[in-house]
Symmetry: D2
Amino acid sequence: MKAGVIGATGYAGAELVRLLSGHPKIDSLALSSVSFEGEHLSDVYPNFQGRIELLLTDAEQVTASANVIFAALPHGITERYAKECTEKGIPFIDLSADFRFGDDEETYSAWYGKTHQHPQLCQYAVYGLPELNRARIQELAAAGKIIVGNPGCYPTSASLGAYPAIAKGIAEDSAAIIVDSISGVTGGGREPARSFHFPECADSVSAYKVGAHRHSPEIARNFAGMAARHNRPAPPVIFTPHLAPMNRGILSTIYIPLAAGWLAGTGGGEPEDTAAKIRAVYSEFYRDEPFVRVLPPWVTAATNRVRQSNYCDISVHLDHSGSTLIICSAIDNMVKGAAGQAVQNMNVIFGYAETSGLEMIPALF
Amino acid sequence: MKAGVIGATGYAGAELVRLLSGHPKIDSLALSSVSFEGEHLSDVYPNFQGRIELLLTDAEQVTASANVIFAALPHGITERYAKECTEKGIPFIDLSADFRFGDDEETYSAWYGKTHQHPQLCQYAVYGLPELNRARIQELAAAGKIIVGNPGCYPTSASLGAYPAIAKGIAEDSAAIIVDSISGVTGGGREPARSFHFPECADSVSAYKVGAHRHSPEIARNFAGMAARHNRPAPPVIFTPHLAPMNRGILSTIYIPLAAGWLAGTGGGEPEDTAAKIRAVYSEFYRDEPFVRVLPPWVTAATNRVRQSNYCDISVHLDHSGSTLIICSAIDNMVKGAAGQAVQNMNVIFGYAETSGLEMIPALF
Amino acid sequence: MKAGVIGATGYAGAELVRLLSGHPKIDSLALSSVSFEGEHLSDVYPNFQGRIELLLTDAEQVTASANVIFAALPHGITERYAKECTEKGIPFIDLSADFRFGDDEETYSAWYGKTHQHPQLCQYAVYGLPELNRARIQELAAAGKIIVGNPGCYPTSASLGAYPAIAKGIAEDSAAIIVDSISGVTGGGREPARSFHFPECADSVSAYKVGAHRHSPEIARNFAGMAARHNRPAPPVIFTPHLAPMNRGILSTIYIPLAAGWLAGTGGGEPEDTAAKIRAVYSEFYRDEPFVRVLPPWVTAATNRVRQSNYCDISVHLDHSGSTLIICSAIDNMVKGAAGQAVQNMNVIFGYAETSGLEMIPALF
Amino acid sequence: MKAGVIGATGYAGAELVRLLSGHPKIDSLALSSVSFEGEHLSDVYPNFQGRIELLLTDAEQVTASANVIFAALPHGITERYAKECTEKGIPFIDLSADFRFGDDEETYSAWYGKTHQHPQLCQYAVYGLPELNRARIQELAAAGKIIVGNPGCYPTSASLGAYPAIAKGIAEDSAAIIVDSISGVTGGGREPARSFHFPECADSVSAYKVGAHRHSPEIARNFAGMAARHNRPAPPVIFTPHLAPMNRGILSTIYIPLAAGWLAGTGGGEPEDTAAKIRAVYSEFYRDEPFVRVLPPWVTAATNRVRQSNYCDISVHLDHSGSTLIICSAIDNMVKGAAGQAVQNMNVIFGYAETSGLEMIPALF
């Protein structure tokens, strides 16, 4: 089994290589890089010294030799590789946004300024959040043509945090859900820029792209899909990303107004009692999910409790008045938020144990 | 003019000493510390070496000799000093929560587990947010008896961020305002604890005391007061604090549903047009405030732009759908959120220029 | 195969548990903790939630059931467990300093203020730096009684960095070797203290215990042992530790005056030529070592290139005048500097592949 | 009095503006920037919003209007402005390396790859470390033509740390002095680069340019000058810079072999006694220096004790064997290491109190 990574020297690509190299089912790797073609991966990342000394080739050589392709390229340029792989029946897992919107060309072009050259490919595309779309991923894989639109980091944390509340009618139907997220700086990628220059972001926090971040429509689409699946209207979504001085991790704090009907159905009680009931719903909902941990009441989700792992930790709280559910959802943005989830999708596609190669216990520090 | 600081070796107390020592109207200082009585301040903080070598005495000696008293003590123990000073006509500026709630003994005791021994003192107490209560501070000062309940750090950033929207009818009357805040670790004080142990909070973010932080009722009380002053109902408040791996700073992201009436009155338009109108209202509202900066549209509030200064930076945004005002409000938690605001209150009380001793341009890094 | 960890809730102990839980030869674990006896490990470290939910027992239960014992206790209290295990023929790997000094009771008591109650145990003790003492570890293991004095973090980085220069006569015999090291804060352990309180060490570096750190005699003893093995006099050692605002990692910069004779023997040349020759010696010296990486000339050792791994990265430099060898040696203080090296020692003892359970590629960020 | 800053938008230039704007003798500023000409300073650094809204012009307009010129440009391009100012009798304070080497054209060109177009300017140049060259600065200022070569950051910390030992014969004449330094990331300037990209340097330390940093010859020249002034031979110097994940600060740990003769003259004693004697020499040596603080024995120099101030803190230690003096010397690299020292030089030139505009007590956090 040979895995190919197109764009192996960006942060997500390199993290993929690191994860894949420890995957028990992967025998070899093929890697490409536009910026560093002809160099060795360990020249670009000395971390790999003595471990992965592979030459970086071009994308064509990667797609020609591998049994599964991961693309970790900028938005808007993976389509040709997706087409080639789909035609050959090679699963294609795309970490860009290009295949996250299905056939909703309008949203995709409005937010990304691109249109698909081969819109027929979208019939093979699935949004790769296994907790939401596992069956569809398996179905496409079985049919022999599959393009996974691997989810964005913020949408992963937001969607897993809100899904049970939306699905189970805990969320008030018409009310806006606010997703307030904080990310580490690796989310900005490997290219130096003033916003990610150490002295500009160390010892400081800031919001950015307020009301205008491209993950807004992705979160909204996910929430709408979850709601639709349970015959509910799509909730409005408000999303604000923040940058914190840390390398990895996303913490999303999600404000979900409680459905009056649901609350009445529980017989009321103190906010902590309601929280306990919702926590039970969440635990049951995710009972069989290997990578979602619903935390006990005395633990609040924190990014350093999922660091370097594929977990999404969720803690369940109520505001003081008892009107609003507050979910804290933590992931490692480079693992469950990118490379780890891509590996998880590969595992689903090939029928491997879903935790294969992803058994990392979160680093303690 | 001699200023006294009771509790000079906690973080807020020591920061006060640093600011007061550069204040042009302060000739000398008297300092006390329970933990380090008999030592020199520069033994506890070598930063002061060669500059402030004062002996740390007890609170009695401080109140006996100074013309203005700052108390930076834990909650629940300043009352006796407030009483003594008030009787002697010495302005008393209290950085604890003890005098922030006026005569609302119920809220104070519910959240702090204390009751006032001398409730009559509350008639001299004023919540020391000069942008809200400057006139009342001057009035009490003129009358000769004043206790300033210096605001909490989170409530300062939240209140300044929301005030114009509440006062000017931009906020929908009945809708909950969500305050989502991120703080640096100095907010936890100088005493070592596991939560603030470097390896436990470095390279990580977390929420804490979700739905249960003591600054919730303080923010709610401020919002209610602002609304009442403009004949509006008190908005419900939801507040979540987060901890980020930085020393100083608070960034509050505040979600305020727009009043349909107000929006209609503006004639509508794109979200960015609405944002511009609200920004203009904010700028006008704070036109004469020396420490509030309403930022231009291309700048988002960040804690490193107010670092080491007494400024509150406010940026005005709208969510993508145009339904909700999103305010980012940044302060240095130890300056405008504690010691700097205390000095500002002293300036108001004594009729000094309000920026006296607080002219620091924010450190660039 | 059952591994026991006494003191499983300190940082080194918990890191051991994390590593051992992924070790292919370890079937089960037994854990003890004085502070948290009766609780579950995942209560103390939520990172383990859903993965290791073991109850924390007492040391007696651990030593009674396991086939290998790791002790991660404070200095001076492991001797009784070492005695018990040795008598039963169970390998005992001690992360404290108690068995690092062999029968040199004088040095041990001078620096640690303790004396051995059972000095006869020292005959079974070996300093557990496999790159130096692999044969002796195997010998004792074969004989059935072994106590490994697992090396300190600073001595590991210093000893691996200087070993080839001392062994191969590159170091001038009589000249002092200066070891200037920088450590992350996890080196200070899990107990909160002012020195490790976030606001006291964030955004700052400092030296500490200058001329007086307990790892000085350990480094000196290692250097002397290396020199003696090659019939050279023990070099004087000067060691200064520093604290930097990061979680993990140690970087040691080691200044080794060049032996005039050795330099003459190379035929001279520019400093970079000499550096290349020394780099070749180092590469050859460590050719078969799985965890030592001698870096190419264009890479300087950095802690983020060994993060979360058991590697020691070594870069070889010369000062501008060509008189002094400068070695940069980087390890992860919690892995190669503590828990990883302990596992490596277990692997040597039991004849497992030395990299078993330690295959982690350094985390990229 | 109008001060001009050429290159006002780099980190050193902007810090200069911040300091000068609070200087009691400076009435106005003129600023230039090649990159941002025509914009306002507050557009580039929102920190200045509402405080310094000056337009950024070109260098010619600055030199035409100001009474003192600070140049914060890259190396090799200030000469023309220095010439113009010198001809007009305007003091010129250059933060680049161009005038740090006097008429030693060979060293300057060897390390910086440049030669002076107007070598006659060097007669007016003085190395601007006031503690070393105050008299010469005053002499040139009085004569009406002065170019200050403002010292590099590392050389400032190294030179102040070693000066008394070299001057007073504490350092062994022929022995190499090792300067091992750790810097914050602002030292790398404002331009984004991979080395200073947050995820590449956060949570990590590394050495760089080992044996090859341009500050090596500057330190060597300073040490030689100090020695020559006291009729001693120039000591060899070995210098290694490191990068730590913090914004500001430099800590230099300096290893100085003790002169046997000096040690004998003291009558010997324990290392701590010798340290006390040396500390007394240092204290006496710097008795009248306003910005050098020799610390008491229980305090070790740390960068967070001089943060945001113009101090150089020095702690005096001996190695365990008593053979080597270990000096820890801490400065804020952007203040005493750059902009603050430049202001100090201006104060000396104009006969202002040397602490004018530099009274900042180090920020506590």
